[in-house]
């Protein structure tokens, strides 16, 4: 590749041919502002905030979309450039609501940052806001089309990364809008509520549906017993909100903090993750034995389940009938746990803390009432819990630590793995291999770890090869699903997580931009697993007690009633 030398603000720098001005400048330590540009996405060049002056060129050049050429002389901060950038900001701001103080992205908004950076003190253009209604049609995600700056980042993540195709454009020019499919409600679009668009959005045009007020109402009600479950991916990402490395916050500190906020009992989704492995592992062995509905897909991820229900209704028998850990936990907390603790289930408010916006939807699926109550009453995301900690003045990183409540608080390293792509597979393999007799010598299945889109491995059960695959991001799941539809899938067992990296990159996590952030969280998951004394789901003593005292046996009638579910076609504007 040819090396090209350019001058940026007088700094000579040599870069490979094809490098954009933006990349070349970053390499030379020169900052150029961006808005529609996203490091993990295609170049869009529609906001023009990154314009720079190039000697010999009449108009300003968008740095993101202009490749360097030999001898190019670039100036990134001339009077002309700064004036153009400020005009662009004024134009965007003339259409953008000015409610920064009430905005959920106050402090994390890229537009707000740019306005501050470019010292925008007045606006020469008349205000012309859209004044469109907010879209509250889904239980997981809220769209505020008024705030949209038309960067197209949400559309790209929804179509290219997820192949969900819920979002698109409407109209053109000044009337251009980002709309859910055919401009109906988001709930009528194929949206799976994965929330990846929230991470992509530079402003607050897409956010989670906030349930903090609902939670505080329950906590302040002396009649209610507020019980919570914490998902494995929450803890490590939560550290980032308080300035710590992923995973620095210890689980005991999180439990302590939640108790201080006013939760009556803190338990673990991890307990239900171990339980899931018991049920799902046996289901897999049964299907392998009968050669029925293979490959079997995992069903822990509500975004993935909805994706399958919308796009592959004919293949729903390939999904494991196991509920997700959240819903298994929900069904048990108002039955088994209430019985053990002697608490009236009617008084229990079952709250779950999740890295996920789709979990908010899963909790209100109409069939999720097997305890005869709403199994999960409300779902708060990692971001909401971080806000709650800040609001209540608690820095969880400074807490001493406390222990979870009994009966559904124990968990193994296998459960922790559920937080990363490949984790459910690894946890299942650890158990399934041992259920076939013998003890595993090496329990780390490294083939299914990491950020590769589709990971594969072959294990031997009773001498027979079992081929497994792991997909994260729904575009990768689609590839595997198309193989099944064509009758060409070579696999027996497939794990799917809707979000890049799995739950650690979930739509409810602290705002995440790049795969590098995701990989760091993933590492924290494996560190926690390695540090745990018990690392196989079937070693969980509280799960054993649950089967002994309440369910009878794995896949028993009662287990089926409480822990398994069914899926139905969802007709949407695909």
């Amino acid at each position: 590749m040819t090396a090209i030398t350019v001058s940026i603000n007088g700094i000579k720098t040599t870069v490979p041919e094809g490098t954009s001005i933006l990349q070349a400048a970053a390499g030379a330590g020169v900052h150029i502002p961006t808005l529609c540009f996203h490091p993990d996405q295609e170049v869009k060049a529609n906001c023009r905030i990154c314009v720079v002056e190039v000697e010999g060129r009449n108009n300003l050049a968008p740095a993101c979309a202009t490749a360097v050429s030999e001898g190019m002389v670039i100036k990134t901060a001339t009077r002309r450039v700064l004036a153009a950038r400020r005009t662009i900001l004024e134009l965007i701001l003339a259409r953008h609501p000015q409610d920064c103080l009430h905005c959920s992205r106050n402090g994390t908004c890229e537009l707000q940052q740019l306005a501050a950076e470019y010292d925008v003190r007045y606006n020469r253009f008349p205000r012309d806001e859209w004044q469109l209604p907010l879209d509250y049609s889904t239980p997981g995600i809220v769209r505020d089309p008024n705030k949209c700056v038309l960067c197209h980042r949400c559309i790209e993540v929804c179509t290219a990364v997820q192949t969900v195709n819920a979002l698109g454009l409407a109209n053109r020019g000044y009337d251009t809008q980002v709309v859910p499919s055919i401009d109906h409600d988001l709930f009528e679009s194929p949206c799976v509520m994965c929330g990846q668009c929230i991470h992509a959005c530079p402003v607050a045009a897409i956010t989670e549906r906030d349930q903090i007020d609902e939670l505080m109402e329950a906590i302040s009600d002396p009649e209610k017993v507020v019980v919570t479950q914490i998902a494995p991916a929450v803890r490590l990402a939560l550290s980032e909100e308080f300035g710590g490395e992923p995973g620095r916050l210890r689980m005991e500190q999180l439990v302590d903090g939640l108790q201080k906020i006013g939760f009556d009992y803190v338990l673990h989704t991890n307990f239900a993750a171990d339980l899931t492995i018991w049920e799902e592992g046996h289901e897999l062995l049964e299907r392998l034995q009968e050669g029925r509905n293979l490959p079997m897909f995992t069903s822990c991820c509500p975004g993935w389940v909805r994706f399958a229900e919308v796009y592959y209704p004919g293949l729903l028998n390939h999904l494991s009938t196991c509920k997700s850990p959240q819903q298994m936990f929900g069904a048990l907390v108002k039955t088994y746990w209430a019985e053990k603790m002697g608490i009236d289930p009617e008084k229990i408010v079952s709250v779950s803390i999740m890295p996920c916006t789709a979990k908010k939807y899963e909790a209100v699926r109409p069939e999720m009432i097997d305890s005869r109550y709403a199994d999960v009453d409300m779902v708060l995301t990692t971001r909401e819990i971080a806000r709650l900690f800040r609001m209540t003045g608690i820095d969880p990183l400074k807490l001493a630590g406390a222990f979870p409540a009994p009966w559904m608080g124990e968990y193994t390293g296998a459960a922790v793995l559920f937080g990363a792509s490949g984790g459910v597979m690894e946890a299942a393999l650890r158990t399934v291999c041992e259920l076939q007799g013998g003890t595993l010598e090496k329990i780390d299945f490294c083939d299914v770890r990491g950020m590769k889109g589709v990971k594969e491995a072959t294990v031997y059960l009773n001498g027979k090869p079992v081929r497994v695959a792991v997909a994260h991001s729904l575009s990768n799941a689609r590839v595997l699903m198309e193989q099944v539809a064509a009758g060409e899938s070579p696999y027996h067992f497939i794990e799917v997580m809707a979000c890049p990296g799995g739950c650690i990159g979930g739509g409810g996590q602290p705002l995440t931009r790049t795969d590098r952030d995701r990989a760091r969280r993933m590492q924290a998951i494996y560190d926690e697993d390695r540090g745990r004394q018990r690392r196989k789901a079937h070693e969980n003593q509280e799960v054993k007690a649950l089967y002994q005292d309440y369910l009878g046996s794995v896949m028993s009638h009662k287990a089926h009633e409480l822990l398994h579910t069914r899926y139905t076609l969802k007709r949407k504007n695909t």
Binding site: T159, N165, A166, G168, V179, S181
Partner: protein, 174 residues
């Protein structure tokens, strides 16, 4: 009882199926498909977008983007006759606004509606018809009318108004 309306419907759907069949398994053909659909229905029904999405394996969000991007496509059913009124500078100066008013009055259009209730007319204000010399100008379908005054408008539109004609005929008979 006459059920020619039903037959017309059937014909349209048969034509739609034929079009979809023609373009099945093709790529990059969204615009021609939509043009054919608009020829069949007079507009692009939302249900047709769903059909195109299924047959051409293109997300309906993308097709919707195309339909709304181009002025030539319409999502709402349009009247039998299209009235295009120039709102350009020359026509504006010569009283184009009054012409527009006379048309909306004649058609009884209210609340930003552009199609008359009897589906006989759709009004489309346009930027320029390229006949500034004879401002103010309007076109009904392919016929141009220049140097208009507001009081000429009802008589011109009545020529295209089959419903009105019918009513007048009935009056004569009575």
């Amino acid at each position: 009882m006459c059920n020619c309306g039903e037959n017309l419907r059937d014909q349209r759907y048969t034509a739609l199926e034929k079009t979809l069949k023609k373009y099945r398994h093709t790529t990059g053909k969204i615009i021609p498909v939509l043009q054919e659909i608009q020829d069949i229905f007079g507009y692009v029904p939302i249900e047709a977008i769903r059909e195109v999405s299924r047959e051409l394996k293109v997300p309906s969000s993308e097709i919707y983007g195309v339909v709304t991007f181009y002025g030539q496509f319409h999502l709402q059913a349009r009247g039998k006759n299209i009235i295009r009124v120039c709102t350009g500078t020359a026509c504006h100066v010569q009283g184009g606004g009054k012409i527009l008013e006379a048309i909306t009055d004649y058609l009884g259009l209210k609340d930003g509606k552009m199609t008359s209730d009897d589906m006989m007319f759709t009004l489309e204000p346009v930027a320029c018809l390229g006949a500034c010399g004879m401002a103010p100008v309007m076109m009904v379908n392919e016929d141009a009318y220049g140097r208009l005054t507001p009081d000429e408008v009802p008589a011109i539109l009545a020529r295209y108004d089959e419903n009105r004609k019918q009513k007048d005929d009935e009056k004569c008979i009575a």
